[in-house]
């Protein structure tokens, strides 16, 4: 049973959006702590520190939500279509990084991101 394509596109957009927000929360929390990681021990300590903040758990909740929708999408469509559409996450992440994290995305990085998306579309449909 094939679902309507717009329904699938909407669901994948929702997955990517929740994942983008979750990544934003994670990255901004890491930026706020500003640790220099040089060992596994230090990495684990940072993870532990992050786990104590409530907003990280909101991020996990969003990731869980994203995963549930993704599982649902995978049970309904073929991998090629799902992965092609999922490449919209790269564009979302780039915009979100500029707007919310004030990252500087110059022409080279934008071009790189578009090449990645174009490449994924080619791999997915081939």
């Amino acid at each position: 049973m094939k679902e309507h394509i717009l329904f699938i596109i909407g669901l994948i957009a929702l997955t990517d959006l929740s994942d983008t927000i979750s990544q934003l929360i994670l990255k901004s929390s890491i930026n706020a702590l500003d640790w220099h990681i040089h060992s596994l021990q230090k990495a684990l300590r940072l993870v532990w520190q992050l786990l104590q903040s409530a907003r990280i758990w909101l991020g996990f909740l969003l990731s869980g939500f994203s995963l549930l929708i993704w599982l649902f999408v995978l049970s309904r469509t073929d991998l090629n279509l799902a992965f092609s559409l999922d490449s919209m996450r790269y564009i979302m992440i780039a915009f979100a990084s500029v707007v919310f994290l004030k990252e500087k995305v110059g022409p080279a990085r934008w071009m790189g991101i578009f090449c990645v998306v174009a490449g994924i579309l080619m791999v997915a449909v081939s």
């Binding site: 640790w35 220099h36 993870v47 049970s75 991998l79 790269y90 790189g112 578009f114 449909v125 081939s126």
Partner: protein, 139 residues
């Protein structure tokens, strides 16, 4: 406060590739658990709950979750060193490694279009990495 470089170094790139490999395995596990649950009708809350209920006993789901934990630790480390708009596109490396691994070990044929796609992704990753080389140290 220590200064962390935002530049994408070879070490971080290797970390990203490792994360990708674990991520690929996790995707495989989740796909296995989802297809094991069969084609379920999820039209309402009850259907959704039934879907979750049938996915939870699958060992693949839990193996996937362990991978997610490993990925979280490496991902936090990566994000502490580079921009989000760098880490995410460079992590698309798995779209290259998976077809190459299938070609080498499973003797799958790679079509011309797929080779072009792999080329584009590689070019994209190179461009994104190059865009970080001029970045100053974060203080």
């Amino acid at each position: 406060m220590t200064a962390a470089k935002k530049r994408l170094t070879l070490k971080i790139l290797l970390f990203l590739i490792f994360t990708d490999l674990v991520e690929t395995f996790a995707q495989f596990c989740f796909k296995k658990s989802a297809s094991g649950a069969g084609l379920l009708r999820v039209d309402d809350l009850q259907g959704a709950l039934f879907f979750i209920q049938s996915v939870i006993p699958s060992p693949f789901l839990w193996l996937g979750f362990i991978c997610v934990l490993v990925i979280f630790i490496t991902w936090v480390t990566i994000l502490s060193k580079v921009d989000l708009s760098v880490a995410v596109p460079v992590a698309s490396f798995s779209y290259i490694t998976v077809p190459l691994v299938s070609a080498i070990f499973l003797h799958e044929r790679i079509s011309g279009l797929r080779w072009s796609g792999i080329g584009f992704i590689l070019l994209g990753v190179i461009l994104v990495s190059a865009s970080t080389q001029g970045q100053k140290e974060r203080v």
